[in-house]
Symmetry: C2
Subunit: 109 residues, 2 copies
DNA sequence: GCCTACTACTTAGTGCTACTTTGTACTGGT
DNA sequence: ACCAGTACAAAGTAGCACTAAGTAGTAGGC
């Protein structure tokens, strides 16, 4: 992964994962696979798991342990009310940033 | 400034500053004022100066000392060829991110 | 029975970046 | 003399993605 992408993901990866969970509950391995499938080619597994621990500790998600047919039990995360609020705030911050950057990209003054 | 914004600026602020310099040369104090004017309300002065030092050391900008009528001499930064290449790469990375996030925002699975 | 591969999660340590705080220095107004 | 505004610098902090290594469980090949 490029260094630019690594730095740009700081702050946004969290929003991306929350947005995924807003769609439907998911577990770490699944999220990692989804991200890689979407072109975040070399996203580190450890990164996703650490992020999930963080948002759990902040109370943005609910967790449920579900046995798996293959391998250890899965930790399935789902967005709760607080998480949805936080996600909305994220979209607000993101919109703010994209607006400024779009202006700059159009050879803005 | 919100914590979300702080984290999101990591990686993007550099691109923002380079984009500003692509428009026309500028010095630190000027850039800080411009950013605050654009709504990046509480951006720390130290942050901008540190960033400028970084991109100078990476050879993305040329520097010229220009005397000021008020206060110490200004360090005027201008984007050089390498900086322009780097900025283009930044826009590529940025586009990639915005595409994925737009899809996620439209409740996409 | 052993080895590999895949699934699934955990953890210790590193590097980079924005922020905080403090300091330096020059000019102009009162 | 003092203060506000201009302009830059530097040391220390916090947070996040990455690296690397490890732990566990299941299934298939030999």
């Amino acid at each position: 992964m490029g260094k630019q992408m690594t730095e740009m993901l700081k702050g946004t990866l969290e929003g991306i994962v929350l947005a995924i969970l807003a769609g439907s509950p998911a577990y770490g391995y699944e999220i990692t696979a989804w991200l890689r499938n979407q072109g975040f080619s070399d996203i580190a597994e450890g990164t996703v798991y650490a992020l999930l621990v963080r948002i759990e500790q902040r109370g943005l998600v609910d967790v449920e342990k579900v046995p798996s047919e293959k391998g250890p039990p899965r930790k399935v995360y789902s967005l709760n009310a607080q998480g949805r609020d936080y996600l909305e705030e994220f979209w607000g911050t993101w919109s703010f940033l994209t607006e400024r950057l779009e202006r700059l990209q159009e050879g803005g003054s």
